[in-house]
Amino acid sequence: MSTRHPRARLALLLGPPMLWLGVAYLGALAALFVTALWTQNGFTGQIERVWTLDSFKTLFTVEVYRTIALRTIAVAVLVTVIDAVVAFPIAVYMSKVAGPGLRRFLLVAVLMPLWASYLVKAYAWRGMFSEGGLVSSAFEAVGLKSPGYGLTATVVTLSYLWLPYMILPIYAGLERLPDSLLEASADLGGRTLQTLRRIVLPTVVPAMAAGSIFTFSLTLGDYIAVRIVGGTNQLLGNVVYDNVGAANNLPFAAAVATIPVVVMVLYLAAVRRTGAMESL
């Protein structure tokens, strides 16, 4: 039967996901862009469907949005770099050094934080960064001033939150690297560092890029952690949240929300060039 109606079968197979992608996903995005071109009645909060670029004009002319956008991107980059640096040795150890039993244990250990709620973890960090908390006591013990709430605390918290999303792709990437390659490198006289640099790293870079998509995009959209440990700082997500929640100004919120979309499109285009998309 299937051979008689190949087209119908294909349509049945692809229909639902295409519908999902087209209507629910891209449709919502399109609605977002359209809303950004409308305006809002400041008093009643009603959206006025008059085409205007006012929201974008505000976005580009008022300096604070540029500052916040750059700050958000900087935090996202920093979180990604920290996660990559921390995740790499862990992933190497898990996939190439640890025995099967230890490997399974480590895998569970890496995944374990994902079982706890985001908020619990963020508030735990709030406790650690507060006066008399673990972090500030540790700093004071060596005679330094605790960073307190602020961007440092935000970067640390977000790096902690997204770390598993970086470890797992790198681990998966290394799993695909046959041990025989490492042995061959050793047989040909390659030292550990040389092997790492010339064999392991090239395999790992696309995996890291894949992981960075998670850490980067999740940071770009986050607004909760910075509310909890960020002190007086705010990221793009907070601007969107405040405009939707407090001002009920959907057009402007939509305009702000296009920034992370544009940044992500550029980022994904860059990542694609590394070939990381194929290893996803």
Binding site: F43, Q46, Y65, R126, S130, A247, N248
Partner: protein, 401 residues
């Protein structure tokens, strides 16, 4: 928009709503100036109470309409249902803006609106005037809560006052000495508490700074912290930008503030009485005061939807929720001053009304209640345009940087 008769209007406030110039005569003592302006849609009010319709849909702040589902001991909805036969469904909202949005759906019969939502609801025609004669308990509501700019238009009440509270100055008694009497500890660039100040995280907090400037920089000519022209607004925003260098963090979640004061990350800043109570309960040495410059605050009103199909039940609810028993229960559960003077005798904590200054008209007079800032100056000026709430929101983002 219909024209309002000059004779009827007692123009408590002067706002201009969109279109045709409505003329209102007269003005109240405080709000001087012309009253060209705020014209409420001409909606009828109920003139006779009939039998209950058997159903009521309530839109309320969390804690205002408890039916025992959160805590079996906290329940003033079930007695109402038994008494009137009106089956109540409750929907809660988190912000005034959410309340306004939800009211536009027309699915709710009554709403508990704060002063920064009421005028928007009135102007938008979502709520109708209330016939206070049909609410017997209205007689016991403190006089200083009636006919205020946020719950009435031209002397016509648009709802029933429910409860109120002030945004106070709180400090850690062990870290802040001497006890502050002025908001300068949180606004002055040379405040000794730099880095440990906290402030309320909402655009409406701009009014607190404006109120401070009203007292400290009289030449700016601020008469009402919710009516700021461009120059006054710029000065206020500048003050808040200075304040940012003092602030350790902004709060909007009250438990977050309790925690910040407990750990001493914050030692001085704006607060609510209920927060001070919680902190004191946790043995944190804090005190609150009304600084010399005054305070901002909130005053909530129960309003009836213009499209409600259950108006008789709605009026019965209005009467029930400010009855001494229910009003006492809500005020105590939520942590605010009740509107009904008779409620004070029925609170479990006999000091409740003293703590919250319930019947203290002079204390209440000092409060600048949250009001929606709109383009038409609330202080009656017509020669300038004032900054509206959307500008406040954008400015708030810029202040935080």
């Amino acid at each position: 928009m219909k024209k309002l008769s000059v004779a009827v209007s007692l123009a408590v406030l002067a706002l201009v709503a969109a279109a045709c110039g409505t003329s209102g005569g007269g003005d109240s003592a405080a709000k001087a100036g012309s009253s060209t302006g705020f014209s409420a849609p001409d909606l009828p009010k109920l003139d006779k109470l009939g039998a209950g319709e058997g159903k009521l849909s309530v839109l309320a702040w969390p804690g205002y309409a408890e039916d025992g589902s959160n805590d079996p001991k906290v329940d003033w909805v079930t007695p109402f249902e038994k008494q009137t036969g009106c089956q109540v469904t409750v929907k809660t909202f988190g912000t005034s803006d959410e309340a306004v949005t939800l009211m536009k759906t027309g699915q709710y019969d009554v709403v508990s609106a704060s002063g920064d939502a009421t005028l928007r609801l009135i102007a938008g025609g979502q709520v109708e005037p209330v016939n206070t004669d049909l609410v017997p308990n209205y007689a016991d509501v403190y006089a200083f809560l009636k006919n205020r700019p946020w719950n009435s238009v031209n002397g016509q009440m648009y709802g029933i006052p429910h409860g109120w509270g002030a945004n106070l100055l709180m400090w850690r008694t062990d870290k802040v000495k001497p006890a502050p009497t002025s908001w300068s500890v949180v606004f002055d660039a040379n405040s000794p508490y730099k880095g440990t100040v906290t402030a309320y995280d909402s655009p409406i907090y701009i009014a607190d700074a404006a109120m401070y400037l009203m007292a400290t920089k009289p030449d700016l000519g601020i008469k009402n912290p919710y009516a700021l022209d461009d120059k006054q607004f710029a000065a206020t925003v500048d003050l808040l930008k200075t304040q940012k260098t003092l602030v350790s963090e902004y709060w909007s979640d009250y438990l977050k503030e309790v925690q910040a004061f407990t750990s001493a990350n914050s030692v001085v800043g704006t607060t609510w009485q209920v927060i001070a109570n919680v902190a004191t309960g946790e043995k944190v040495p804090v005190q609150v005061t009304v600084p010399t410059e005054g305070v901002t605050g909130w005053s909530d009103t129960w309003m009836v939807s213009a499209t409600s199909k259950h108006k008789n039940c709605a009026y019965q609810w209005l009467n029930h929720i400010i009855s001494p028993q229910a009003n006492a229960a809500v005020a105590e559960y939520f942590g605010e001053a009740p509107a009904n003077g008779k409620a004070c005798a029925l609170t479990a904590d006999k000091n409740h009304c003293t703590t919250y200054h319930a019947g203290d008209a002079t204390y209440a007079q000092k409060i600048w209640y949250w009001t929606t800032p709109i383009a038409q100056c609330l202080d009656g000026r017509t020669d300038v345009k004032c900054t509206d709430y959307s500008k406040w929101t954008q400015a708030w983002t810029q202040i935080k940087g």
